[in-house]
Chain length 351, copies 2
């Protein structure tokens, strides 16, 4: 990968979180847990309260009575979930950002010039203060050097290897162990009632595809995410898709509504997110007729996970920002805000 | 729609056939016909021969024996079909081009300046010689004036109205009546054997979505096609997606392989096309392991439909070009070429 170029931003001018996604559950366990839950309380990790009730009422309203006005035909049962901060831990950095930083270390031997060249120098010297100050341009340089310059197939293998070995700095567990058990229960409940679940992530589509089937039971064709321009090349007789250091689609903010329209062409009946980047997805979902589930996960549990906001006086953050304006809109539009602290009995399966 | 701007081409430099798609079968009839066919010969409109045998052998190899090396797991049974010239008539112009020309007439009263302004003037004066000489830039101007400047919802309504009323100039039937009965049989056979069918069209994704469910039984999330940039707008409280006169994705040529990777993330086991624009889709499909079906429809029946090539000495055409180099590649890679004249007993359901 000679001369890595900085990743160029594409059509959408907003901040890209292509560097954004990462999750651990043993293979096969999704289905087993689903069976166990169906036997008793399908939302066993949820405390009783308005959030749990909102999910149960939604499923009841849309699937139980074919004669009801709120009944939804099986082919239209679409639910869209954000990933980072909604399905798994996004602090201290989006999973894909953590992956990219690890890749800089892994590729450093091939790039001796990085020892004296920013932003690589700061990454290689493990300088958290410098990392916290990285600009969008710094992240794009890192993305260009770590996410592009290989075929789609090669990239998938690199991500798979990383996800099977990398550990979260605080929890000392694989990222895929840091998925939220209550959200897996919601996904299983929706699936058991005929919903098709899509992930709509600001992170990389191909990054999430590398593990979403195993971790969430969600196949590649139901992963919508940010993507790079790819170039079709014949190597000998064999075609390959080369990943270029140029953003093609930014699946964040307005890009989430645009991506849902482009990839699905149907309006979801349920959407769950956790940050400013999910605002348009929830607006788009809520604009449909009938009963729609719109929820935001609110990270207010510093003891078991993280607390960041700044709504409600929580610490500010660039990763998974939940500003007061989003809290105000949630209230005005009657979106359900899930308090991790109060609504979730367990956060992780390993607790 | 004041000041329509010409459609701008996007990232892929090749000729766009966004102006490209159009099809008639009574609602509900797809399922009925499917049932009828399953009872007897599933490919009743096909003459016995290598093309028919290729389809039957493929289905047999991939679905009949779970212990076989060529067996394909149900979740991986993906088939991709081009639309124009593969599923329905594409001459004298792609369906979406015919739609755009009709729209110029429909919008002419709101645009008195078009009477003296090319390319609109030639369209309004019904000058086939001038139309035949239209450049790519002329078509993009027409596309910008007729496909953009409204919301996604509004566009869907306009297409639906057109498809229900417009008639093909030669056959004097609705475009949706001009689907190829033998291809409907292949789709039904594949579906009956657990394949999910995607349309991968160089034409407009939203154009095809407006009728694909009714005509082919294919839902919006299984339509991959060219698309415009859309802009997310809040009108009052309500979000809309506005169609802008700028190409976002060109789903033709290499764009077909790129689109399959982006929208599905799995390699198809069967791909059927009919022109140069389908070359990369068939290459991409053929590069997978196991048994794969790769077919090209060859329009060699001037009496019942059209004959154009120029492979095999047929007349040259800009619409659905099938050059000698494609015929050579088909031979070299063992793709099956379907002769409409020899392989199809019936072309249309109304025969």
């Amino acid at each position: 990968m000679a001369n890595p170029k900085p990743l160029q931003t594409g059509r959408v001018g907003r901040r890209s979180i292509l560097l954004g996604v990462a999750t651990t559950i043993a293979a096969g366990s999704v289905a087993q847990r689903a069976q166990a839950q169906m036997a008793g309380d399908p939302l066993a990790s949820w405390n009783d309260g308005p959030a749990k009730q909102a999910v149960l009422a939604f499923v009841q309203a849309t699937t139980s009575d074919q004669a009801s006005k709120s009944f939804v035909a099986p082919e239209d049962r679409i639910a869209t979930f954000d990933q980072d901060g909604t399905l798994w831990v996004e602090h201290p950095g989006y999973g894909q950002a953590m992956f990219a930083l690890d890749r800089v270390h892994a590729l450093a031997l091939q790039h001796p010039e990085w020892q004296s060249q920013e932003p690589f120098k700061s990454v290689l010297s493990n300088d958290p203060a410098a990392l916290a100050k990285f600009t969008e341009s710094d992240w794009l340089t890192i993305a260009g050097a770590t996410l592009a310059g290989m075929t789609e197939q090669e990239f998938g293998k690199i991500v798979t290897h990383w996800i099977e070995s990398a550990k979260h700095p605080r929890f000392k567990r694989r990222y895929t162990e840091l998925v939220y058990q209550p959200m897996l229960e919601v996904m299983n409940l929706l699936r058991a009632n005929g919903f098709r679940i899509y992930i709509v992530t600001g992170g990389g589509q191909d990054f999430v595809r590398a593990y979403a089937q195993r971790v969430y039971g969600i196949p590649p064709e139901q992963i919508i995410g940010s993507s790079l321009v790819t170039r079709y090349e014949l190597k000998g007789d064999k075609p390959e898709l080369m990943r270029l250091p140029k953003l093609f689609f930014n699946s964040d903010n307005d890009g989430k509504a645009i991506g849902i329209n482009m990839f699905i062409g149907k309006r979801p009946y349920a959407s769950i997110g956790n940050s400013n980047g999910d605002r348009e997805m929830l607006e788009w979902t809520g604009a449909g007729s009938g009963v729609r589930l719109k929820m935001l996960v609110y990270h207010d549990d510093a003891a078991r996970e993280y607390a960041y906001g700044p709504a409600g006086g929580l610490p500010d953050t660039k990763v998974g920002t939940f500003p007061q304006s989003l809290m105000d809109e949630a209230k005005a539009r009657s979106w359900t805000v899930i308090s991790m602290k109060n609504d979730w009995k367990h956060i992780f399966a390993f607790e």
